[in-house]
């Protein structure tokens, strides 16, 4: 069976049809759309293209090749599993936004020209913001607004780049740019870098993901950054700057994850760290490295969603997500802890789990290109990954000191089912890496399970554990926040508001006062000039009509005078 339609169409349809279903069927209906999307992505023939004429332009809405297919499969799959995880959610607008967001991600992945790409890029920005706002509290409202503004800014840069590129070359077709090719390419790169969360343009991620809804965070963790990684791999392969930025990112996230207190913020910083590997892979740019980037994005989406689901279980059942308030919860949710730990083993690169078989491709490709500094720094970052996601977070949430916090709600069974499905995939691809390798964009001859690699990993992980155990109380949560680059737009915000909104408001206010005063004066002058005059003469007492009005003789005299004057004028004429 082969459905030859652009796969995003099912999710767009879903977003609009979902509210029409009765509430009871909605969770099941939700699953149908990503499932249809998944089947389509799976079965579309290679190089299948769907294009349409828009005025004099040809828009390539959908173009399938191996690179886009592997990203498309994982986006549709995660949409499906996140749908199971949010089975209990009764919030239709939120679920519709999630589908629309998925449609955006699939649209970006299969876009064949830059205009189509931009369209879906913005769709993602808008739809995903609702997943943050859907939590409906003050913090989420402002974090969502910041998220939205940053993404609008990124979208504008991308649009500026595309427009410039089009005006210079007349081309809209998506193709790889040579490193540093044109100003337009640089503009596009910065726009994409915002979505990829490359420091210093990353702060939107660690700011907003911890404030999204429990289920919305799963979609968020999977789509925005990874679709941007896809665009990097497609358009900016072998841009050397990406290697440096990627390695920096990988370590940057690690440092901040030490300082983070919110469990979902720890995971958010580790998205930045993990995406760093992928960005570095794009920067290396060899076939092996691009394969590594695609494979790692695939693995990463699976285990990161699993980790966010584990953190979501804690938040859903206890209403808390700060390490400094948690501890000793393990006995209340043993299954969730185990499933989370499978995600943690995967992200840490334990043998038999999927991080092991994908991260190592990127690291090895750095070695093959003799980029030893990059290789060692990336390995250091993976030490940090195990330290935080595998040790710090679970130890201080589920083990360690008992905080006395107990779950107040039961874990919905669907949450555990979704986690189980992801845990299955994380292990499956770890045990059978060839299944994933066969989907990669370039032919690959890579063997992750070598003796050397196993020795290296075992020593690294075991000794990381020992160091953690010695310092485990040093990484306990503290009720503090760590400033990040969002400081640059959050702290001056009141001042900027004062200048750009306060200043303008003041001018308007003064004009308003001036106008209303003059209108009042004119009105008084017109209605009773004598009152005005008398008030000026005797400001100390109120106007008294009997006393202050001119005597009757004045008006009579004036009338007679005018009559006489008119008579005289008419007679003399």
């Amino acid at each position: 069976m082969s459905l030859e339609i652009p796969p995003f169409i099912f999710l767009v349809l879903g977003a609009f049809l979902l509210p029409l279903f009765p509430k009871k069927v909605q969770p099941a209906a939700f699953l149908v759309f990503p499932l249809l999307g998944l089947i389509t992505v799976w079965t579309l023939p290679d190089q299948w293209t769907f294009s349409t004429q828009f005025y004099s332009y040809e828009l390539v809405i959908c173009k399938v090749d191996a690179l886009s297919r592997v990203f498309g499969i994982i986006f549709a799959l995660i949409g499906l599993i996140a749908g199971i995880y949010s089975w209990h959610v009764k919030d239709t607008p939120q679920q519709s936004s999630a589908l629309l967001y998925g449609a955006g991600a699939l649209g970006v992945t299969f876009a064949g020209d830059f205009f189509t790409l931009l369209l879906f890029w913005e769709l993602m920005a808008i739809a995903s913001t609702f997943l943050i706002w859907a939590r409906r509290d003050r913090e989420s409202a402002s974090a969502g607004m910041r998220y939205f503004l940053v993404h609008l800014f990124g979208g504008s840069l991308l649009m500026a780049g595309i427009a410039l590129h089009f005006s210079q070359t007349g081309q809209t077709e998506i193709r790889a740019f040579a490193p540093g090719e044109s100003v337009a390419a640089w503009l596009m790169l910065i726009g994409v870098a915002i979505n990829t969360a490359i420091p210093p343009l990353h702060a939107w991620l660690s700011d907003s993901y911890p404030k999204a809804t429990v289920t919305g965070a799963i979609f968020l963790s999977a789509m925005t950054t990874k679709s941007a990684v896809y665009v990097l791999a497609r358009v900016f392969p072998a841009w050397e700057i990406l290697l440096y930025l990627g390695v920096t990112m990988a370590l940057y996230g690690v440092v901040y994850a030490v300082l983070a207190n919110d469990i979902r913020q720890i995971l958010a910083y580790h998205i930045i760290s993990q995406v760093g590997y992928m960005v570095a892979g794009v920067g290396i740019g060899t076939e092996m490295a691009i394969n590594g980037t695609a494979a790692h994005a695939f693995s990463h989406i699976l285990y990161k969603a699993l980790l966010f689901m584990g953190a979501g279980v804690v938040l859903h059942t206890t209403g808390r997500s700060k390490l400094s308030e948690l501890g000793g919860l393990g006995k209340c949710m043993p299954l969730a802890v185990w499933l989370y730990m499978i995600g943690a083993f995967s992200i840490s690169g334990f043998p038999l789990f999927n991080g092991f078989i994908s991260k190592s491709i990127i690291i090895s490709s750095a070695g093959v290109e003799h980029l030893y500094v990059a290789k060692f720094l990336l390995i250091l970052a993976s030490v940090g990954t195990f330290l935080h996601t595998g040790l710090k977070l679970p130890y201080h949430t589920w083990f360690g000191r008992d905080s006395g916090v107990k779950p107040t709600k039961k874990i919905p069974r669907n949450m555990l089912v979704a986690m189980g499905a992801l845990a299955f995939f994380c292990t499956f691809f770890g045990v059978f890496p060839q299944v994933l390798y066969s989907c990669l964009p370039f032919p690959i001859d890579y063997q992750p399970y070598t003796k050397l690699h196993l020795i290296e990993t075992t020593q690294l992980l075991a000794l990381t554990f020992v160091a953690f155990w010695i310092l485990r109380w040093k990484v306990a949560g503290e009720p503090l926040i760590a400033l990040d680059t969002d400081w640059f737009y959050r702290k001056p915000a009141p001042l900027i508001r004062k200048i750009f909104i306060g200043g303008v408001n003041r001018v308007f206010h003064v004009c308003d006062v001036l106008i209303s005063t003059s209108v009042r004066l004119v009105a008084q002058l017109a209605s009773n000039p004598i009152e005005l005059w008398q008030k000026r003469r005797f400001p100390q007492r109120p106007f008294d009509a009997d006393e202050d009005r001119f005597p009757l003789s004045v008006s009579l005299g004036l009338t007679i005078l005018i009559i006489v004057l008119i008579t005289l004028i008419s007679v003399t004429k």
């Binding site: 030490v383 050397l452 290296e456 075992t458 020593q459 000794l463 554990f465 760590a482």
Partner: protein
């Protein structure tokens, strides 16, 4: 951590250290792969440094009270 956890951990570490001396490691003859316990030392010092350095950066530069952004 129960006693048998520690025993298992030590056994794994010892095994991985010994494994370096058996069989051929010709596939990638980098100097660091020939050094015994290289990755163990790298993992331990790496983890140690990550914690200590990050905590220091946090303490002296980055960490603020939770209501930092709420203040006028």
């Amino acid at each position: 951590m129960k006693k048998w956890h520690w025993i298992a951990l030590i056994a794994v570490i010892v095994l991985s250290l010994l494994a370096q001396f058996f069989g051929d490691i010709a596939e990638e003859e980098s100097w660091y792969n020939k050094l015994p316990a290289f990755w163990a030392v790298y993992g331990f010092t790496g983890c140690f440094l990550i914690i200590v350095v990050s905590k220091a950066i946090g303490k002296y530069f980055l960490q603020k009270k939770e209501d930092y952004y709420d203040e006028p």
